[in-house]
Subunit: 213 residues, 2 copies
């Protein structure tokens, strides 16, 4: 059965990204360290075309996060570049180069219309201007019976959580205290969760919850 | 070697207590549920003079949290009752009845002086009016080579964390989204932590960190 899920790394104080996000620091100051546990892994390096690397209990987490994904939804800030209307000189095509690591249809929530953008490797960015439910409908149509991943940022995840549209929450809790930035769980009070499992790994604890509906 | 540590349950969104703390709801609205994982345990029930109960991976957490404790430090709000000067009719002697579950010297941070209060079972409340460092010095003197537990609330823990006086952080992450209340990790940015271990248990994940000094 298709699940709508997210798989996100957060600091112990709950931040998905540090403060002062910019072109130079897309995850904000200190935010890149949220992924320190992943960088040495063979499973992570392979996603980015690199050889070598380690295997540890986080390997399973990387593999599960990317397995059986039929479509991805993200916010405009995560797609990145700049706020406001799209520009043409040159067009912003995401942070990820010509061959983004998604390889499935990606639906970008934005207030600014733009034609779809086909990248190498099967990633197509489709820009959705009428909100989270139409984006999810489009993602469901594209995903078939595979899962839909809400990739971020915090605001988009919160909107889907608050609307009761997320089935599974995966957080990787990292031993960092960022102190500022975007908190993942805001405006989500009262949502009922059941802990499914927790996996200890070097420098991170991965916890899965099911959303009780 | 003596460690200064805390062992606290927090919601997935980072709250140590819910909103609207009161005599009726000392942990705030929804806050009591932060301890739902502990209530059925034999190890917890025994601390409160009750028989029966379960054994599961959280048993070890309860046992470790209470083992080798030589002194406890807490804030005035956690000791409870009411804000402001102490009253005599009748005197507030804490939330815990005549035989509090500490059984060691407890140092209560307050702005309002008061003579020490000896309870049954070895718990003595000593009221410290000159701040966190004198309280810690008194706790060290009382604890010998046993550990010092900073019991809460959030403000007191944050003050000790920010001052670099905590050696070990133990959090029990509970699948609750409280949305408001007292967050544990505020004003603690930049503190460096190393994850020591994580233990999955029914309805909770227990993570231990060492503070890197």
């Amino acid at each position: 059965m298709t699940k709508v899920r997210f798989n996100l790394a957060i600091s112990l104080d709950g931040y998905l990204a540090g403060p002062n996000q910019s072109l130079e620091n897309p995850l904000g100051i200190g935010g890149l360290q949220l992924h320190d546990w992943a960088f040495p892994l063979a499973a992570f390096r392979q996603m980015h075309g690199l050889e070598g690397g380690e295997v540890n209990p986080s390997t399973q987490i990387i593999e599960e996060s990317t397995a059986n994904v039929g479509a991805v939804i993200m916010g405009r800030n995560m797609f990145g570049g700049y706020p406001g209307p799209w520009r043409d000189d040159p067009p912003w095509t995401g942070w990820w180069g010509d061959n983004p690591p998604y390889h499935v249809p990606v639906f970008v929530l934005t207030h600014h219309p733009r034609p779809p953008l086909a990248m190498q490797g099967g990633t197509t960015f489709t820009f959705i201007t009428d909100g989270i439910e139409p984006a999810l409908a489009a993602a469901r149509a594209a995903a078939g019976n595979r899962d839909i991943v809400v990739a971020g940022g915090a605001q988009v995840v919160q909107q889907y959580l608050a609307a009761g549209l997320i089935d599974e929450v995966n957080v990787s809790v990292v031993p960092l205290l960022l102190g500022a930035g975007d908190r993942l769980f805001e405006h989500t009070a009262g949502l009922r969760l059941e802990q499914v499992r927790a996996i200890a790994a070097p420098g991170v604890t991965h916890i899965r919850y099911r959303v009780i509906k």
